[in-house]
C-alpha cells in the first residue's frame, strides 16, 4: 500500500513571478511516526535507541536532491533514512494540486556501524544523494554515508504473479506428486507498492569521510570524494575503484589542506573539479593522466589584505562547488559569500555575492560555537540565472544574476501562513531596527539551512530546515 504522510498543502497563489509561496510543508517527524511499523529495523546493537514519536537528532535532514526530471525529490537524514517524494500528476479534477509532492518511498539506506579495530563509530548519516538518469521504469539513486556508497533501485510493483506450479497460493511448496498438470502463472493486479532495493554496495575504498559523490555524464561511472582522495567507480563494479586524486601528504603532520567537494562537469565526462579548505578549486582532466594530482586549471582569488584575520583561512574554505547546468560556470560557497566563476578565467571569480556579511565582525564567537565550520550548500536554478544558498535563522538567500537583485526568505512554520506569499526578510546590521527587521544578535544560529535543492526546470525549491522540509514555488500553471 502506498505510504501516507502527514502533509500539509496550501493552495498556491496566482502567477506572480518573483514572490515565493509555500506549496508543501513536510514535518518529518510526523512522517516517521506513521511509518513506524514498516521501517523500524532498529537493531539491538545500536547504541542509540531513538524514539520515533518526536523529532530527534536522527530526523535532521542532511541532504536534498531532485531527480533529473524533477518528478522525484529525495531527502537523506542523520538516521540513515532516505525519503523519496513524488510530484502529483496533473489531473483535471484537481488542477491546483499539481506541484505538490507526496511521499513515494522511504527506506533505511545506511545503518550505524562500529569499526572495532579503530574503536570508532561510523555514522549512518546520509551525506549525499545523487540520482541517476532514468533509463527504464525504475528509479536509481546513489546514497552515501561517511564510508560506503550504495546504489538503490526504487521501483513500483502493481502486479503479482499467481498460479505457480510448485508453490501454492500461500507460498508453501507443493507436494510434487500432487501436481498433475502444468499451468502458466498469470500476472494479477495488486495494490501499488513501491519498493527500494540495494543493488550495489561500494565499500572499503575510503579511509576518510566521504563528502561528495558525482555521477558522470557517461552514466557509467561516478566518483566519490573524501577529505584526501577521490575515487572513480564503475556503477556495475563494486570490488574495484580507481584513485584519481590523492592529496595525502607522506607525513600526515604536514597536512594543511583537505578536499571539501568535487563534481563532474555536466557534459564533458573527462572533466571534474574539486575544492579545498584553502579556498581553491582545481579543474582536472582525466585524459591527461591516470592520477589527476596535477590540475589543469586552478581557480583562486587572491586574499584581500585589508580583511585579513586569524579566521581568513577558515572562512575561505569552500563548502560546496556546483557546475552550472550549461557547464560554463562554476559556483562555490565559502562561509560568507557565494562566487560564480567562469571556467575560462582562473584569476578571480566572475561574480561575488555576500550572503551574510554582517557575520564578519562575529567570527570569533562563531569560531567559539563552531558555527564557522558549518558547510552551506548552494544551488543553481534551471536556467542558471538565479542562485540560492542558506543562512542562519532559517533564512535562505536568492541572487538573480541578471538583475543583481537579491532576496532573503525564511523557512519557518510561523511565518509561512497558507495562502500567503513569503515575505522578504531583512537583517538589521546596526543603528535603528525597523519593524520587520531582525537584528544580528537575535539570529538563531541553531537554525541553519545547509541543504536545499532547485527543480531542474521549474521554479520549485526544496529547503531543509533542520528536521523539516519546505517546498516552495513561485507560480502555478
Amino acid at each position: 500500500r502506498t505510504l501516507q504522510a502527514a502533509v500539509e498543502h496550501w493552495e498556491p497563489r496566482c502567477d506572480v513571478s518573483g514572490p515565493w509561496i509555500p506549496v508543501s510543508l513536510f514535518l518529518v517527524y510526523k512522517i516517521k511516526a506513521q511509518m513506524d511499523e514498516e521501517i523500524d529495523t532498529r537493531k539491538i546493537n545500536n547504541s542509540f535507541l531513538r524514539d520515533h514519536n518526536y523529532a530527534t537528532e536522527a530526523d535532521i535532514i542532511s541532504t536534498v536532491e531532485f531527480n533529473p526530471t524533477g518528478e522525484l525529490l529525495a531527502t537523506g537524514d542523520k538516521g540513515g533514512r532516505v525519503v523519496v517524494f513524488q510530484r502529483e500528476q496533473e489531473s483535471k479534477n484537481q488542477p491546483h494540486r499539481r506541484g505538490e509532492y507526496n511521499v513515494y518511498s522511504t527506506f533505511q539506506s545506511h545503518e550505524p556501524e562500529f569499526d572495532y579495530l579503530k574503536s570508532l563509530e561510523i555514522e549512518e548519516k546520509i551525506n549525499k544523494i545523487r540520482w541517476l538518469p532514468q533509463q527504464n521504469a525504475a528509479y536509481f539513486l546513489l546514497s552515501t554515508n561517511d564510508k560506503t556508497v550504495k546504489l538503490w533501485k526504487v521501483s513500483e510493483r502493481d502486479k503479482r504473479p499467481e498460479g505457480y506450479n510448485l508453490k501454492d497460493e500461500e507460498g508453501r511448496i507443493r507436494d510434487p506428486t500432487t501436481i498433475t498438470a502444468l499451468r502458466v502463472p498469470v500476472l494479477q493486479p495488486m495494490d501499488l507498492m513501491v519498493e527500494a532495493t540495494p543493488r550495489r554496495v561500494f565499500s572499503n575504498a575510503h579511509t576518510y569521510h566521504i563528502n561528495s559523490i558525482s555521477v558522470n555524464s557517461d552514466y557509467e561511472t561516478y566518483m566519490s570524494t573524501d577529505d584526501l582522495r577521490i575515487n572513480l567507480w564503475n556503477l556495475e563494479i563494486t570490488n574495484r575503484s580507481f584513485n584519481i586524486v590523492d592529496i595525502k601528504p607522506a607525513n600526515m603532520e604536514m597536512l594543511t589542506e583537505v578536499i571539501t567537494a568535487a563534481e563532474f562537469q555536466p557534459s564533458q565526462c573527462n572533466t571534474f573539479v574539486y575544492s579545498s579548505s584553502k579556498g581553491s578549486i582545481r579543474l582536472c582532466d582525466m585524459r591527461a593522466s591516470a592520477l589527476c594530482d596535477n590540475h589543469s586549471k586552478l581557480f583562486e582569488e587572491p586574499e584581500d589584505p585589508s580583511n585579513r584575520s586569524f579566521f581568513s583561512e577558515i572562512i575561505s574554505s569552500i563548502s560546496d562547488v556546483k557546475f552550472s547546468h550549461s557547464g560554463r560556470y562554476l559556483m562555490t560557497r565559502d562561509y560568507l559569500t557565494v562566487k560564480v566563476w567562469d571556467l575560462n578565467m582562473e584569476s578571480k571569480p566572475l561574480e561575488t555575492y555576500q550572503v551574510h556579511d554582517y557575520l564578519r565582525s562575529k567570527l570569533c564567537s562563531l569560531y567559539e560555537n563552531d558555527c564557522i565550520f558549518d558547510k552551506f550548500e548552494c544551488v543553481w536554478n534551471g536556467s542558471d540565472s538565479v542562485i540560492m544558498t542558506g543562512s542562519y535563522n532559517n533564512f535562505f538567500r536568492m541572487f538573480d544574476r541578471n538583475t543583481k537583485r537579491d532576496v532573503t526568505l525564511e523557512a519557518s512554520r510561523e511565518n509561512s501562513k497558507p495562502r500567503a506569499i513569503l515575505k522578504p526578510r531583512k537583517v538589521c546590521v546596526g543603528g535603528k531596527r525597523r519593524k520587520d527587521e531582525i537584528s544580528v544578535d537575535s539570529l538563531d544560529f541553531s537554525k541553519k539551512i545547509l541543504h536545499s535543492a532547485w527543480h531542474p526546470s521549474e521554479n520549485i525549491i526544496a529547503v531543509a530546515a533542520t528536521n523539516n522540509l519546505y517546498i516552495f514555488q513561485d507560480k502555478v500553471n
Binding site: 579503530k118 574503536s119 561517511d146 563528502n211 584575520s309 564567537s365 569560531y367 560555537n369
Partner: protein
C-alpha cells in the same frame, strides 16, 4: 557567544600600537596595554583552538576538515607569536617547568600532560599556557580556568617584554618564514624555501642555538596538533608478541581509551588516525618509540577481542 560589542579584529588592534602619539610615555604605555590586550586575545584564541582540537573525543571519528582548519589557525598564531618573540618566552617557561620535573624537551607534550596531572593533584601552580592533550584528568572547566590564569600570567610577562625587538630570531623583517616553515609546506613557494634555507645557514652561533630550540619547539608544537598521542616509553617488547604481530600493520591500532578505561591516556585527536597511518614515516622524535607503543596498543586491543 562573546558579549556584544567585543571587537575581534586582530589585525586592526595590532596596528594601533604602531601609531605614534605626542606624549611618548602615554602612548607607549597605551601601546603596551593595547599589545598585551591583543596578546591576550590571541592567547585565548590559541587556547580555544587547542581545546577544540582536544575535545574531539566523540566515539565518531572527528571531522578532519575542521581539525585541519583549527590546526592551521594554531599554526598561524604560532607564527605570529614567534615573530613577536612571545613564543620563545612561553616555551622557555614551559621547558623550565618541565626541566624541574626532569623530563626531556623532546617529550614536551607528553610531560606537560603528566606534569599537569601530578601537579594538579599536588595543588601546584605552574604556568601552563598550553592546554595540551590528556584533558581527561582535568575536566574542561578546570582546563579553561587554568588557561585563563596562565594566559593572564603570560600576558603579564608579555606586556613587559613585548617592546623588545626579537633580535636573535628572524634575520628577516617583514614576516619572513622561519626555518621550520619549509618542513611544513612542501607544495607551495619553492622560492621561499630556498631563501629560508639560506637564511638558516647564516647567522651567529647564538642564532643557531635559538633556531635549534625553535625547531625543537616547533616540532613539539607539531606534536601537539600533529599527533595527539602520547608515545609512552615502553619496556622492551615481548619477542613472542612481536613475532606474532610482525606482519600485522600496527599503524591501524590507536589507543582505545573508551574500552580500556585508561585515564592517563589522551583522547583521540584529529590526527590520531592519520598519525597512525604515517607512524612509520620519517618522524625522528617519535619513530623510536612508536613501534613499541603500537605493540602496547595491540596488546590492549587483543585483550579486548579475546575478552581476557
Amino acid at each position: 557567544m562573546f558579549p556584544k560589542g567585543t571587537k575581534r579584529k586582530f589585525s586592526d588592534s595590532r596596528e594601533e600600537p604602531v601609531a605614534g602619539g605626542e606624549d611618548v610615555n602615554q602612548s607607549s604605555l597605551a601601546a603596551v596595554r593595547m599589545l598585551s590586550s591583543y596578546s591576550l586575545q590571541r592567547q585565548s584564541l590559541l587556547d580555544m583552538s587547542l581545546i577544540k582540537l582536544q575535545l574531539c573525543h566523540m566515539l565518531v571519528e572527528p571531522n578532519l576538515c575542521r581539525s585541519v582548519l583549527i590546526a592551521n589557525t594554531v599554526r598561524q598564531i604560532q607564527e605570529e607569536m614567534t615573530q613577536d618573540g612571545t613564543w620563545q618566552i612561553m616555551t622557555q617557561a614551559l621547558s623550565a617547568a618541565n626541566a624541574a620535573a626532569q623530563c626531556s624537551a623532546d617529550r614536551l607534550v607528553a610531560t606537560e600532560v603528566l606534569c599537569r596531572q601530578t601537579e594538579a593533584a599536588q595543588g601546584e601552580q605552574v604556568p601552563k599556557p598550553f592546554p595540551v592533550v590528556g584533558s581527561e584528568g582535568c575536566p574542561a572547566e578546570e582546563v579553561l580556568e587554568e588557561e585563563e590564569a596562565a594566559a593572564a600570567e603570560v600576558g603579564m610577562t608579555m606586556s613587559t617584554v613585548s617592546p623588545q625587538a626579537p633580535t636573535s630570531y628572524l634575520p628577516g623583517t617583514f614576516g619572513m618564514d622561519p626555518c621550520w616553515e619549509e618542513e611544513e609546506t612542501g607544495e607551495d613557494d619553492d622560492d621561499d624555501e630556498e631563501e629560508d634555507s639560506e637564511e638558516c645557514g647564516s647567522g651567529s652561533e647564538g642564532e643557531e642555538r635559538e633556531r635549534d630550540s625553535l625547531v625543537e619547539d616547533t616540532r613539539t608544537a607539531e606534536q601537539v596538533f600533529g599527533t595527539f598521542e602520547i608515545k609512552n616509553p615502553a619496556p622492551s617488547p615481548d619477542p613472542a608478541l612481536e613475532e606474532l604481530f610482525s606482519d600485522v600493520d600496527a599503524s591501524y591500532y590507536d589507543l582505545d581509551t573508551v574500552l580500556t578505561g585508561m585515564q592517563s591516556v589522551p583522547k583521540m585527536g584529529p590526527y590520531d588516525l592519520l598519525e597512525s597511518l604515517s607512524s612509520h614515516g620519517p618522524s625522528p622524535l617519535s619513530s623510536s618509540t612508536s613501534c613499541r607503543s603500537d605493540l602496547n596498543e595491540l596488546d590492549h586491543i587483543m585483550e579486548i577481542i579475546v575478552g581476557s
